[in-house]
Point group: C2
């Protein structure tokens, strides 16, 4: 069953569809709150057990921001020509991965940072909500 | 002169290059703080006088969130194959556009929301900072 948001005309996707779409992409954006202000970082990510996993550089501003407080993580694919696309947002809390068995598993994920800098910390987003919307081409 | 971030190996772009790149795209993501938590929304935008302009639906959660407090607005283009791309972030404050001459001007911008819902409010982001980074393909 397709759910359409009656206010916006936008299709609302269920959690399973959102997760399936998250698996198709490699780059998302993490939003965090720093001293009451929003910050946003593009990030290479992978999905592990239905959760978003990414790497940060120890001691970087991104690392410290990502490791405290609530986060929002967004992925989208849009097409300017057909003016359509989808967006998935994960709201939750980021945690540093410290358990060795878990580290061993996530190190095998298809996730290599694009920049040359060493990113030694692995972060997991524990989702509270996963929501997604799709805009279909207007007829 | 190209500036390279010595910690990350990422190229740091100046404000003029960031603005030029913002002009090339149509979709970005707005991050706001709601009750201490980050929220993130994909948004169709245009550039007007070096500032980000977009439309919101009166009374929507996005509208109320975007109209108070600091915002971060992000645009990126990435290429999974070459593992390269750029990202620009505007940090600033969003304002509802209310002046009639200004509304007349922004209504002529190439900016039509993709969903059918009426979005009657025009919002402008007054930038405090515009920063950008580029990851070039690794040799």
């Amino acid at each position: 069953m397709r759910m359409i948001d009656s206010r916006t005309g936008i299709e609302v996707m269920d959690r399973a569809e959102c997760l399936a779409l998250l698996e198709t992409q490699q780059v998302g954006r993490l939003a965090v709150v720093d001293d009451g202000r929003p910050m946003i970082f593009p990030v290479n990510y992978a999905i592990d057990g239905g959760e978003v996993v990414f790497r940060t550089a120890e001691g970087s501003k991104f690392d410290s921001a990502a490791r405290r407080g609530p986060v929002a993580f967004e992925v989208d694919v849009t097409d300017d020509q057909s003016r359509s696309g989808w967006s998935v947002v994960v709201n939750g809390r980021a945690e540093l991965i410290t358990s060795e068995p878990e580290l061993e598993r996530v190190r095998s994920l298809p996730l290599d940072p694009w920049s040359a800098h060493e990113k030694s910390n692995w972060i997991r987003v524990r989702p509270d909500t996963i929501t997604g919307r799709r805009v279909v081409p207007q007829g």
